[in-house]
């Protein structure tokens, strides 16, 4: 086993163990949420369709053609470069060089050439994205929630993509020259479309030793950046490249206008209306309804938050946001994610002050079930934001990965009204007349009085 093989193996093992820890945390944070209703078998086809069209096919991205094409360039390059990545891992483990070449024969240079072409397009697209964010300052990246880390996060990823592409081309260019001058050590693959010409033109006169170093440099750079990416994703908006798939699968296939029923309320209302005989089963505790914190949301709501790539399509179409109100659906998603992450960090700290009263009394260890702090989602999301929503579903429609910010807003409104008996005072007369008169307005006239109006 060569030193290089050992180094490779160590990097691979360290990356894998760190990754399992970091991704484990994200999954634990998502599972802070409540269970979702069981998926219905008859919806399976539509769910697969969502995965294929929306996640894999990026259908919703194409509502805005320019970013869609730029994004597609990077995405397709990413997909195809996986072939080269698998080869890099195989080479790294076996200590061989371009292990796929003998198997694939004449097809090998075609595949590598395709990857090179796609990488070139991805390179151009990445530069365009850097320009859009930092020079052209596209409006939807400039809202207040994007200041600081979110803006850094986006640029770090774009910079990483540049490094990945530099790695691939450096490796292939040096290799192309080495194949010519040192055929006994470098497997003959046939000419690569870009580096096969660019390599000899730029590096043709270089010293073979230097070329060998450059080839290894490109190879290691690509591999290390991939490992870095993998470990960076769980703390980044870029997690969508993995989560887009489960998230589109679990997304609701009901009409967007449909709000989830609350069966726990139905029991009480039915007994109040005398529609059921059984009133003895009602719990003694004062129940809590709606969502005060991420634990009251479903795990799908929290997965939505971790899937969010902060693109701001939701916010840019939100009527409340467009007219200068405080609401930004993207911020709602970022807040849910940040709150879940905060709880996760506190759980990891093992600090026993984060146990609820009962667990402290019984001296139970800290778990996600007995977690309590003095904070909630309402420390992140203000009531003004919740009250500005028109439930128009524009944000839901706009999301390229089927995130539903509206569902979270409505669950928090339920908490405010049902559990806190708070909410906009303007709504009180409406609630009163609904309860007393069965109409949104307090009217003295009969509901069918309009029939007396003769023609107009």
């Amino acid at each position: 086993m060569s030193i290089q093989q050992i180094a490779f193996l160590i990097v691979l093992i360290v990356t894998a163990s760190l990754a399992s820890k970091l991704y484990g945390r994200v999954i634990r944070n998502i599972r802070l949420g409540k269970d979702i209703e069981p998926l219905r078998e008859q919806d399976e086809g539509r769910r697969w369709l969502n995965v294929f069209l929306v996640a894999l096919g990026q259908k919703k991205m194409f509502k805005r053609i320019i970013p869609a094409l730029l994004h597609a360039a990077i995405y397709v390059a990413f997909l195809f470069t996986q072939i080269e990545l698998i080869e890099i891992i195989a080479d790294g483990l076996t200590g061989k060089h371009r292990v796929f070449a003998p198997f694939l024969g004449n097809l090998y240079p075609v595949i590598i050439s395709a990857i090179e072409l796609l990488s070139l397009a991805a390179f151009a697209a990445t530069l365009a994205f850097i320009w859009r964010r930092n020079v052209a300052k596209v409006a939807r990246f400039q809202q207040s929630e994007m200041r600081g880390w979110p803006s850094w996060d986006a640029n770090i990823i774009l910079f990483g993509e540049i490094l990945l592409i530099i790695g691939i081309f450096t490796m292939n260019m040096a290799d192309s020259v080495l194949q010519i001058i040192d055929p006994s050590h470098y497997v003959q693959t046939g000419t690569f479309l870009i580096s096969g010409h660019l390599g000899p033109a730029l590096m043709g006169s270089w010293d073979p030793d230097l070329l060998g170093v450059m080839e290894r440099f490109g190879w290691w750079l690509h591999f290390l950046v991939v490992c870095g990416f993998l470990l960076y994703l769980p703390i980044s908006k870029h997690l969508h490249i993995l989560f887009a798939f489960p998230n589109t699968w679990f997304a609701s296939v009901s009409p967007k206008g449909q709000m989830k029923n609350m069966p726990e309320v139905m029991v009480e209302v039915k007994s109040m209306l005398g529609l059921t005989e059984d009133t003895g089963s009602m719990s003694e505790d004062i129940p809590e309804f709606g969502a005060q914190d991420v634990q009251d949301l479903t795990w799908k709501n929290i997965m939505d938050a971790y899937t969010c790539t902060e693109c701001g399509r939701c916010t840019s179409v939100c009527p409340a946001h467009i007219t200068g109100k405080k609401l930004s659906p993207r911020k709602i998603m970022m807040d849910v994610r940040d709150r879940a992450t905060e709880i996760g960090k506190n759980l990891d700290s093992g600090n026993l002050t984060f146990r609820n009263e009962e667990a402290r009394k019984n001296n139970h260890p800290l778990t996600s079930q007995n977690y309590a702090d003095d904070r909630s989602l309402f420390d992140y999301i203000t009531r003004e934001e919740l009250h500005a929503c028109t439930s128009c579903n524009a944000c839901v429609e706009a999301c390229p990965v089927l995130i539903n910010p509206l569902d979270i807003i409505l669950q928090m409104r339920r908490y405010e009204i049902l559990t806190e008996s708070a909410g906009p005072t303007d709504w009180l007369p409406m609630f009163n007349s609904l309860e007393n008169n069965g109409a949104v307005w307090a009217m003295s006239a009969d509901r069918d009085a309009w029939t007396a109006t003769d023609s107009q």
Partner: protein
């Protein structure tokens, strides 16, 4: 005017084919009442077998549910379902997309399953069956999607089909269909003051409609009707541009 009640029809041992759900706005709001009357005129003139609940109808509970008040919503919904199921109602048509959405999508979970149509869907099928024939004029009319018929339920075609029978010059705003901009009334916003901001949502939408140079705005929702009418007043255009529900345009067209 002659409007059959469901209770009277059932007492006679008849079961009307379709229940017309009038809704709070259609019952009480003076402007929306005109839409109700217009729709009834169409139903009457085409001898549709329908009836209304009249005093037995209550709010569907939509604004309460979207405000977060599930108790009030379920109280109303369960009472309405009780009424509808007692009468054995099978098919419902309504001129309000909020009522449409709630009865169609949310009443089933509470025990109320019906075939639910928005009035523009019924009008579309009446046109397709050639029971309703209209003569297309040349007025430039811009169509505004309501969120609860459009995005919420994916119905973009029916109201456009109807409008295309009424005019040869239907125009769209930039934000239409899935991208349609809300009028600002949904989510119980209709019943509260706006949160602080730069502008009212209805004004933003009305400006977009005005920019099309249409002489009228066609809507399918009583709350959009109010919001866009207010928007026109805010822009001092209420004399030049009118907001109509599609059923009103039909009544004008048929000269009923």
């Amino acid at each position: 005017m002659e409007v059959p009640r469901y209770s009277e029809r059932v007492a006679k041992g008849e079961s009307p084919e379709i229940l017309f759900w009038v809704g709070c706005a259609g019952s009480y709001d003076p402007r929306a009442q005109r839409v109700t009357v217009a729709f009834v005129k169409i139903l009457n003139s085409l001898d549709i077998d329908y009836a209304i609940l009249g005093k037995e109808e209550q709010c569907t509970g939509d604004p309460a549910r979207r405000a977060g008040n599930e108790f009030v919503f379920q109280m109303l919904a369960l009472q309405n379902i009780e009424t509808l199921n007692t009468y054995g109602v099978k098919k419902i048509v309504t001129t309000c997309p909020h009522c449409f959405n709630v009865i169609k999508n949310e009443y089933p979970a509470l025990g109320g399953e019906y075939e639910v149509l928005h009035h523009t869907q019924l009008l579309q099928s009446l046109i397709q069956e050639e029971r309703l024939s209209l003569e297309a004029g040349t007025d430039k009319i811009v169509y505004h999607d309501s969120c609860f018929l459009g995005r919420a339920n994916g119905e973009f075609a029916a109201p456009r089909d109807v409008l295309n029978q009424l005019t040869t010059d239907m125009v769209e705003m930039g934000r239409n269909r899935e991208k349609g901009l809300c009028c600002g009334a949904g989510g119980a916003q209709m019943f509260k003051e706006d949160e602080p901001g730069d502008k009212r949502i209805n004004v933003e939408r009305t400006e977009e409609a005005i920019a099309t140079n249409a002489s009228a705005i066609a809507v399918n929702c009583p709350f959009c009707l109010t919001m866009l009418s207010d928007g026109l007043k805010a822009k001092d255009k209420q004399e030049e541009i009118m907001v109509y529900d599609l059923s009103e345009l039909i009544v004008n067209n048929m000269q009923l």
